[in-house]
Amino acid sequence: MRGRETAGTIKDLPRAKESLFLNIPYDSSFTNLYLAYIAGVSSFGLMPRATLEIPGGERRLDRILALIRSCAYSLHDLSRVELDRRPPTTPRFNMPFELGLAVSWQKLKRPNHTWFVFEAMPRRAEKSLSDISGTDVYIHNGNARGVFTQPCNAFVRLKSQPTTREMEQAYERLTELLPELKERAGASSPFEARGFQDLVLAARDITRREIAPQSSPSRQP
C-alpha cells in the first residue's frame, strides 16, 4: 500500500558499522536534546537508530536487543533520573537497563561494540549507577551545545571532525524542519516511528550539505 511502510521484523535489521543505537528518554521536554543527538550523531557520519523506529508486534525487549546487535555503537543518556511526575511517581529505569544490555553484549559477545554514557550533571551517574565507576561519562549539561561538544571527545577522528558550529547548524536546520515533518507525518510528537525516520533522513541530507563539502577531501573512506 502506497504511503504505508514498515521497517520489517527484527530479523531484517542489517548490521551497520556506522549505526549508533540512541538510548534516550522519549518525552517532550527532551525534544531539543533529541534533535541535538540526531544532528550531532549524523554529523559524524553515523546513523542514529532507536526503538522508536520499529513497529510493534514484537516484544519490546527483543526489539531493543536486535537494535543493539545491529549497531556498532550505542549512546546511553542517563540524565532522566528524577521521579516521573505522573502517578505512580517512579524513576525511569529503561535507559540504565538498556545500557546494561549493551555492556553485556560488548563484554560477552561483541568486544568491538562501543558504548557511551551521557549525563546532564557531573558525578551524578557515579552516584546513581556506581557500577560504571571508572567509565568516562560525558556531561552535556542538559543543553544542545553540550551534546555537540561531547561527541567530539567521544569520537576522535583521525583527519576530519565536524565542528560544534557545523553541528549547531545541522541542529538549527533540523529544528526548523520539525514542524513540517510532524505535519507531513500527521504526528503530534516527534517521538514516533515515522517522525524519527524522517528526522534521520533529513539530518543525513543536512549534514551532507553542511559538513561533507568542507571535510570530504580529508575524510577517508
Binding site: 511502510e5 525516520q197 541530507d205
Partner: protein, 65 residues
Amino acid sequence: MAVVIETPFPSMRKVAKTLGVSAERGKEIERLVEKQYKAHGDGRVLNRRSGSKRESARPRNGRHH
C-alpha cells in the same frame, strides 16, 4: 573512552534502506530540505541568537546607523 572511527557519510539511499523506508521517501525528505535551503540562501545565515533567521528586507547600504 575514546574511539577512532573512519566512516564515510552513508548515502541517502543507504540510510533509507537501513531504516527500512523507501528511497522515494528519502527523496521526499531531500526535496523538503532543499526547499528550506532555498528559502534561507546558502544555509550559513541562520542565527537564532541574533533574533533573525532571514536577511533583513531593508536594503543595506553599508553604513552603520
